[in-house]
């Protein structure tokens, strides 16, 4: 080999390495995100999530693809939907609500697929994570701990004469069961008598709504997506019985419930998107603490007027949304 040939080798190797590195850097993986959503009401959460992902540079059909199972409308459709999602071997799963997240956690097992959950009342109480600070495992997300307590406190302020409360919950939902414990404690502190309606099905709900005690001053739903399909039934019953209804969805207050206190779907979705971005960038879900969701208070003055209820200005000042106009228009 001539000296000239020998000298050629070094720059050739270097340029080849650079080319290889460039090629490696240039190659862009398509990320797949599986989404499991059981309720139509939570579509805005999915939208918020997608918007946040787009803002962070994940463009659908370019470097990102979604595999969306939802809205499923029934819990029976969950298992096959989750199986289909897992078959796609997604890089990340977004799960909405406690039942969905628990099933995803069980189905994903040790697959290592990271899961971001949201619309979860109590991730510790429902067994999704061991700790908010250090979730461990492959799940992390957004929690709404305390929403039940605060919702009750708001109801107490809005309906000062409240002494007896008709409370709806599903004992089979672990998150509702955990929230119930805190709500009971708060009610006890405020000397509020709780008349509970344990419902598991539509029939149970209809029966409970048909049998609203006359001596209760208000109706209260333990926050959960479980109530979403029974939107009209609850509103009609509250109207018929002229009882203030405290919900946790803005749409319910907009449609006629006296008030709602809970999370905003789009905000939670965006918050989940930010978490997903961190995970996709390489942070382990076990090291990402579960974040607190923001709560929003919505008051319906038309309903209050219909119930002959005067909401003090001091309360109105603290409301995020006040419904004064026809439904569907957020201030």
């Amino acid at each position: 080999m001539t000296p000239v040939s020998r000298l050629l080798i070094i720059p050739l190797i270097f340029i080849l390495c650079l080319t290889g590195c460039q090629k490696k850097a240039a190659k862009q993986d398509i990320i797949t995100i599986g989404i499991v959503n059981v309720a139509r009401d939570l579509e805005d959460t999915v939208d918020g999530f997608k918007k946040a992902m787009t803002e962070q540079g994940y463009i659908e059909n370019r470097n990102l693809s979604y595999y969306y199972e939802g809205p499923l409308e029934t819990l029976e459709a969950l298992d096959p939907a989750i199986s289909r999602v897992l078959e796609k071997k997604p890089d990340l799963i977004l799960s909405l609500t406690t039942p969905v997240t628990l099933k995803v956690k069980k189905a994903a097992g040790n697959s290592g697929i990271p899961v971001v959950f949201c619309i979860i009342g109590d991730p510790i109480g429902s067994g999704i994570v061991e700790s908010l600070r250090k979730p461990g495992g492959s799940l992390t997300g957004i929690h709404a701990r305390g929403v039940g307590i605060k919702a009750l406190e708001w109801l107490l302020q809005i309906v000062p004469e409240l002494k007896r409360l008709y409370l709806f919950y599903n004992p089979d939902y672990r998150s509702m069961a955990a929230t119930m414990q805190n709500v009971k404690k708060t009610a006890s502190h405020h000397n509020i008598e709780l008349i509970t309606a344990a419902v598991r099905s539509r029939e149970d709900i209809l029966e409970a709504l048909a049998n609203i005690p006359e001596n209760v001053q208000s109706l209260f739903q333990v926050p959960s997506a479980f109530w979403a399909p029974y939107f009209k039934e609850f509103l009609q019953a509250a109207l018929d019985h002229k009882k203030p209804l405290m919900s946790h969805e803005y749409e319910w207050a907009e449609a006629g419930a006296l008030a709602s206190f809970g999370v905003d779907g789009v905000s939670i979705g965006r918050q989940a998107g930010r978490l997903a971005h961190k995970i996709l960038q390489g942070t382990l879900p076990a090291l990402l603490p579960v974040e607190q969701a923001e709560f929003f208070l919505t008051l319906n003055l038309k309903t209050a007027e219909a119930l002959d209820l005067t909401i003090p200005d001091s309360i109105l000042k603290q409301a995020d949304h006040i419904i004064r106009q026809k439904p569907g228009s957020r201030p």
Binding site: S5, L132, R133, I149, Q157, N182, Q292
Partner: protein
């Protein structure tokens, strides 16, 4: 070695300049990055201080406008509930919880943003024993950052003393736990390059504010370097850190603007990399060109040169095998053609030399035969002539009385003829010898030679022979030189027709030759005979008038030309003639025809 040295000398300065330029660029960009980060950090610090000021201002407003001491507990709760749930977009949800604390009565009201607004919860979040004595003495309190056990959220207690306007005494405090995560948005809004960040670390090296909430929520620790500049950042990567110290009512925070070193210097690094790649590419192209040149030009030239040297050394069988259509191919072809022609020429020359050698041998043989022949012929011819002469002599002697005058005349004529024949044979013999018989070259004393010639010729008294300008001696074959001069002078004397005859012998030096001339003032020779007179047996006058064999001038010509000279004459009828001849100064040069 030359090529290596040359490349080293060409590349060395280039690389040195590149290194110096790169170093300077890196330093400049480093400084610029620090300046930018310092500005960013200052902006973040201003916003953070503004946040704490706003947090305090809200509390002061609640104290000022709420008249908290004189209202009912329910009203107190409403006021602090409004304070905690205020909808100011900029600092929404900045308080985690809030409490009105009486210096003697304890907690009067408590509200929480997320937790239960009950007195029981108050105690878990407020270290009342720490700040109440502080507050009740009229001082503001800013506590260290603490982390909620359940959520890990960083909180900071601020307590503002409340003063009775009439007595001027401190009756209580309005205390809040500020959610430090409100500052997360502040630092999150500030960009430091593409991946740089601004974050806040407290005195216990805990990260309390960071664009990534999880960094704070998992209790990340960071040892703040003593000096800003290049250091390992929060990410662990080499970074540029600019550190600003915030003192808020006795609590110290470190606001750090961090940018990865790789990113901060990316422009310079990219530029240097591009320059390096360009240099490498240029080097690669140069090397490729050098390789091509070496292969397609230098090696063929070296091959041609090597083969040419071999051909030059005598190996004419070598051929340059270079099948190309370009100039080098044509050059190689020309060399091959030259070698072939040289080979052929040398072969021809060798053949010619061999032939000449054969010819020379034959010539020598012939010469030898001719010499023998000439000797034999002259001897055999002379013998009868002697016999005839002797017989004629005897007859003239023995029968003198019996022969009349006419008879005696015939015998005299006969004897003359015999004598002439004798002379002719000798002349022919001499002519044949001339050019063949060589003698040793010696330094011939010309004066002595001329004198010898004159004495042997014994010219008549009316003829004077003069020798002028001749050198002392010249290197020559004496016999041949004498023959030439003698024949020319003899002719001049023989044919002198003047009463006072003059024969002048002159010499002159001409480069490689001596030029002799023999001039006479005789009858001269017509121009038409200037060539003819040098032919053998040619005479201008009848032999019965002048005894002449007709061989003399031809002999002169033959001898002179044998030695490489030439002979010619100038003559004017009636006035005289001058015969010239040249004789080489060095024998051996120009004397071979």
């Amino acid at each position: 070695m030359f090529r290596t040295a040359f490349m080293g000398m060409a590349l060395g300065p280039l690389l040195l300049v590149g290194l110096l330029f790169g170093w300077q660029s890196v330093n400049t960009q480093f400084e610029n990055a620090m300046i930018h980060q310092r500005e960013v950090g200052r902006r973040a610090a201003d916003n953070i201080i503004s946040f704490f000021n706003a947090a305090e201002d809200y509390l002061l407003a609640a104290i000022l406008f709420g008249d908290l001491k004189n209202v009912t507990p329910q009203r107190q709760y409403q006021i602090i509930s409004q304070a905690i749930n205020h909808k100011h977009a900029r600092y929404k949800n900045m308080y985690y919880d809030i409490a009105i604390i009486h210096c003697r009565k304890g907690i009067l009201a408590y509200a929480s943003l997320y937790g239960e607004s009950s007195v029981a919860c108050f105690l878990t979040h407020f270290r009342v024993e720490e700040f109440l004595p502080y507050i009740c003495s009229g001082r503001r309190y800013y506590g260290p950052v603490s982390f909620d056990e359940l959520t890990g959220e960083p909180l900071m207690t601020i307590a503002i003393p409340m003063v009775d306007l009439r007595s001027g005494e401190v009756w209580g405090a309005l205390a809040v736990n500020i959610r430090i995560n409100t500052i997360w948005q502040i630092v999150g809004d500030i960009k430091v390059g593409r991946s740089g960040k601004v974050y806040v670390v407290d005195q216990q090296n805990r990260v309390v504010a960071h664009p990534d909430p999880s960094v704070v929520l998992r209790g990340t620790l960071f040892n703040v370097p003593e000096k800003e500049g290049q250091a390992r950042g929060l990410s662990g990567d080499p970074s540029i850190l600019v550190i600003d110290t915030l003192s808020i009512e006795g609590q110290t925070f470190y606001l750090i603007a961090e940018q990865p070193l790789k990113e901060a210097l990316s422009f310079t690094v990219t530029m240097l990399l591009q320059i390096f790649i360009v240099i490498l590419l240029a080097l690669l192209v140069s090397l490729l060109f050098a390789l091509w040149t070496e292969r397609h030009m230098i090696k063929p030239i070296e091959l041609i040169a090597k083969q040419a040297l071999r051909i030059g050394a005598g190996d004419l069988s070598q051929r340059i095998e270079l099948e190309r259509q370009d100039e080098l191919g044509r050059l190689a072809g020309a060399f091959n053609t030259m070698a072939a022609e040289l080979d052929s020429t040398i072969a021809s020359l060798e053949q010619e030399v061999a032939e000449r050698k054969r010819t020379a041998i034959e010539l020598e043989a012939v010469n030898s035969e001719l010499e023998d022949f000439a000797y034999i012929v002259s001897h055999d011819l002379k013998a009868p002539l002697r016999g005839v002469s002797q017989l004629a002599g005897w007859i003239a002697e023995d029968y003198a009385d019996a022969i009349d005058e006419e008879g005696r005349n015939h015998i005299r004529l006969l004897l003359n003829r015999v004598k002439r024949m004798h002379g002719l044979i000798d002349s022919v013999l001499e002519y044949s010898k001339a050019g063949r018989i060589r003698e040793k070259v010696t330094d011939v004393d010309l004066a002595a030679l001329m004198q010898e010639v004159i004495e042997e010729l014994s010219p008549a008294d009316n003829v004077r022979i003069v020798v002028e300008n001749c050198p002392q001696s010249i290197a020559a074959e004496r016999t041949r030189l004498k023959q030439v001069i003698q024949n020319l002078v003899d002719n001049a004397v023989k044919y002198m027709d003047k009463k006072k005859g003059l024969v002048e012998i002159d010499c002159a030096s001409e480069a490689a030759y001596w030029r002799f001339s023999v001039s006479d003032n005789g009858p001269g020779i017509a121009r038409k005979y200037h060539e003819k007179i040098f032919h053998i047996f040619q005479t201008l006058s009848p032999r019965n008038q002048t005894e002449n064999t007709g061989v003399g001038l031809s002999l002169v010509k033959k001898i002179v030309e044998t030695f490489g000279g030439r002979v010619w004459l100038k003559s004017q009828e009636g006035k005289g003639s001058t015969f010239f001849f040249t004789w080489p100064k060095k024998t051996g040069e120009n004397n071979e025809k």
